[in-house]
Symmetry: C2
Amino acid sequence: MINESMYQLGSKPSCIRELFMYGMKQAAVVGKENVYDFSIGNPSVPAPQAVTDAFRALTAQEDTLAIHSYTPAGGAPDARKAVADNLAMRTGMLVRPENIFFTCGAAPALVSVLRALSVEGSEIIAITPYFPEYRPFIEFTGNKFVAVPADMEHFQINFAELEKRINVHTQAIIVNSPNNPSGAVYSHETLRTLAALLKRKSKDVGHPIYIIADEPYRELTYDDAYVHYIPDIYPDTVICYSYSKVFSLPGERIGYFFIPDCVTDGERLFAAAAGAARIMGHVCAPSLQQQVVRACADVKPDLTEYDRNRTVLYDALTSYGYTCVKPQGAFYLFVKAPYGTAKEFSDRAKLENLLIVPGDDFGCPEYFRASTCVSYEMIKRSLPVFKMLIDEGK
Amino acid sequence: MINESMYQLGSKPSCIRELFMYGMKQAAVVGKENVYDFSIGNPSVPAPQAVTDAFRALTAQEDTLAIHSYTPAGGAPDARKAVADNLAMRTGMLVRPENIFFTCGAAPALVSVLRALSVEGSEIIAITPYFPEYRPFIEFTGNKFVAVPADMEHFQINFAELEKRINVHTQAIIVNSPNNPSGAVYSHETLRTLAALLKRKSKDVGHPIYIIADEPYRELTYDDAYVHYIPDIYPDTVICYSYSKVFSLPGERIGYFFIPDCVTDGERLFAAAAGAARIMGHVCAPSLQQQVVRACADVKPDLTEYDRNRTVLYDALTSYGYTCVKPQGAFYLFVKAPYGTAKEFSDRAKLENLLIVPGDDFGCPEYFRASTCVSYEMIKRSLPVFKMLIDEGK
């Protein structure tokens, strides 16, 4: 007797993964240079040299027990301190190492916090377009998933819609800025308006409505975009972070949740999230990766390539007539399908071995996502195909 | 509003962790050499040289994307193949790489399988003494925890008791051989008797009752003890494995679940366990660690030190009058408290800075556990304290 929901979750790969696997298969048939795979968010630039050096120095150590032993569940004290110090330096706030809990990437951090917030009837809000896994993460931690459309002109927040969806069951809203898939970065005004609304509503409903800031793209911004430290603007904010994107280590599974002292009931929430991690089999985050983070807490990524990719693809697509908000962060373009649904359009593109992700799973079936964490040469080769496809509809 | 069960789980560290933390604190007060810490199962011998070499060779590679990128959820194809080939070689069975699913250690492997088996009213059996986390893992994946006492003379299975506890809701029994904490290794006869019982009972209840073989200590056996390949004896067996103990990498979080082709409904169970992993935030197991396993799938540990520790402590304690079954595997001694409860005895021992774990959380409040994955010198220094404590009760 097997759990049917788990079976459904495990037997249908995500649309993104499916396209990615298809791309690998097609590459073997038509040649790698003839597949234009914009499906997945696998960083395309190498890890920063300091990160590679840290891996080498740590694994060169003679005392292997010092590197590979169990750490406390929340992480090695020195690694937590390095992250806390870095956050304190950047934000000017007091950050205690005890408020950091290392996890195997941002996903389990998020799931742990969501499970800690799951109570009778609890609801969690995500803003459309949202990272597709938010829905199962929210639902299978025992919460109700509530989607609220963004302001689709700038991919900020549609506050009129948001206010309608908040009620006494609302426990939290997930803020993902820079956003996957739109690349939008929330402005200070957006965050201040959000804070004011949540403060008023928290008072109305008689309990804090938390912000869960899912920030794997925090360091990936372009032009003059700036990612504000949300607890400064709204104290009841929990941060989930991952080193996957910033250090180009998505396979290495290292991230954390951080619950600042200013969070109402923060100590209880921290303990509950730790408890949730524990019953999901979390023992500690990979100890070697924790030490890499300790050594590199202050390292910044080089965004030159991602910025070039973003600009080249954005400029070309908009010159052909595609509609797209210029992303200020992350490494995706979220583009309106020029005709038909995005599913139809991406199916058509697939025939040309151009792999783009229809926005259905992001809650926006009129848009498709194109990753820009790909090779520059592939982007250049793909441009005639993008042009041909939009011209077909004219 | 915070989930109260998660808070309870997260705010009370396990008894083992608590003792371990106390030991670190006391070491600062009375000196490291005056604390006899037998609390935790942190391997005390270095990683095998081949494992250390693999870490160094992999991190020396120039192409960091090849090492650090996302792998498929179940693991990198080459790493899965290496594990499958090793299992095939050892067991003489056909093992397909697709039947292996890498996880961040054995704990999430176990939790994923347990959640896949959770249906209305489902029950999971563990044999006393059991690894304490089995209880929360079983209960918080939506199953009922059912404990069955071992045959306490040899720590094999008490079949009369086991049969009484099996009913139509029984989904699986966890088999942990070599056993933590008793060090018992199930004999071929035990496994054959278990298989016969489960076959008969599966027929009675009309659905398979699975064995979940939790085998982190599989490679850690002494004298002529042999760990049988259970699917050979009982086809409906799922294996959960970890490299923590065998490679002395407990912090690195690398293990797997393996569902052989012979398992009834095995493909559905595999998909359901993958789905369960997914909604707990599993993306992939650490990719570098996967590659280390690929390179070292056939590496065997050197057990000389553990064997010496086991023998010295066992011989000394039994010569003082303690009662203990000689462990055939793992790295623990499970000793009967010579007087009072094990909790009282371990509290008394704590006053002498001798840290042993009372068996309450293992389901055996008359026994205490002493880890033998500690330094040989510490064992030698601790012996007079063990002697003094038992003599007090005479």
